[in-house]
């Protein structure tokens, strides 16, 4: 299992539950599994084409690399890892 930690912006859609766990050999698989019964979340995390939404990035908790949606396949994932979702923001 891998834990995915979402930022505050997802609070409404996740009813405040910002940590979700799911199985998967890759981050894409983990995200897809987490979205299985959450259509609203799937709409935000994935495009209709199946690609990960381009306004989302990821990092492994405890590591210092950022992976954009285009680099998701490069995330080195193993069971027990926690992945943080990083969202772009516009405020200034």
């Amino acid at each position: 299992m891998v834990t995915v930690v979402f930022p505050q912006q997802f609070s409404k859609i996740l009813d405040g539950q910002l940590k979700l766990s799911g199985p998967g050999a890759s981050l894409r698989e983990v995200l897809a599994n987490i979205c299985d019964s959450r259509a609203d979340l799937r709409k935000l995390l994935f495009l209709e084409t199946g690609e990960v939404s381009p306004f989302i990035g990821f990092s492994l908790l405890g590591a210092d690399s950022f992976y954009s949606s285009k680099m998701i396949a490069a995330v080195p994932l193993k069971t027990g890892d926690s992945v943080e979702v990083i969202l772009s923001m516009a405020g200034g």
């Binding site: 930022p7 505050q8 912006q9 997802f10 409404k12 859609i13 935000l44 939404s53 381009p54 306004f55 989302i56 990035g57 990092s59 210092d64 690399s65 950022f66 992976y67 954009s68 949606s69 285009k70 680099m71 990083i86 969202l87 772009s88 923001m89 516009a90 405020g91 200034g92």
Partner: protein
Amino acid sequence: MLAVPDALSKDEQSRYLRHLLLDEIGEAGQLRLKQSSVLCIGAGGLGSPALLYLAAAGVGRIGIVDMDVVDASNLQRQVLFTTDDVGQPKAEAARRRLLALNPFIQIETFVERFDESNAERMLTRFDAIMDGTDNFATRYLVNDVALKLGKPNFFGCIFKFTGQVSVFGRETGCYRCVFPAAPSAELAPDCARAGVLGVLPGLVGSYQALEYLKWRLGIGTSLAGKLLMIDTLATKFRTLSYARNPDCMCNRPAEIQLAGYEAACASEPKGDVPEITVQELDTRMKGPCDFVLLDVRDALEHAIGNLGGRLVPLDTLAQQSSDSIGALLNVERSQTLIVHCRSGKRSLKACQILQRLGYSHVLNVKGGVVAWQREIDPSLTI
């Protein structure tokens, strides 16, 4: 543009003494700052601290682009301004404040929108750009014009209690390498709607100014290729390294076309919702009352200042069915509904909901109460 002398005056040596004492800066570094320039897009939450520190540090020429006027609700975080500045153009108020702080620098102001038509012309004359904007369309434009002209982009953004800082460029990766496209409105409300801790832009904007000074002085480790993430509630700072995307346009800057930003970053497709300007609304409000005005902002925003419309927050409206909406509005479906919010985005969504629920005559107020305050009634508090 005035010629920049190649030596510091006695007054400048006195002013910048604490810089001159630093081996990493000294008189040569201070002169480098005096001969440098930066274009700051936005004189708001991020622009305020960034501009103050850049001016105080002696950056010789600073451009400020902002078309807004100072609003009382800005003063909680936009420390460039005072209560006396309310109602004044931000760029001009900023110029007065910065020249009062440091008369040895030049300030150029642009009281206009930074867009595809003027971005290249404005940035050409500056060494670098500082992104202090508050919307995705302008952020992608800032990124692209900086890439096109080969100038560094000192980036900062904020949301509620969190912020991000980076330095984007052709060699180390750009905003599109990190976030190729903008999110939906649901995930990206602006500060006006989501709220923001007043001190947060102070931190993020100061980091932007710091990164600029380090770059211009050639000292320290840059945030180029890195994303600094700040969480003020958790007191956490993380620096993440990002890789340049080989497919990104930053690899082909000569091909960059500055066009289509509003459409690409539009949170919601406009569909066929007709619009009404604030001038047209003003005229209709002075005539026979043949419409219902709805305010779809939150209750607090409505209480602070409103146009006399009925308060129906967007969240409430979004929960209605075709059965329940009648009881909520108590308005015939043939009646004309004129809908406004703060800037026109939430009211657009409200109009689309109302259309789906069978209201055929809905009009969205273009620019919302922000436009009303700017163009009809400056005394309106928002």
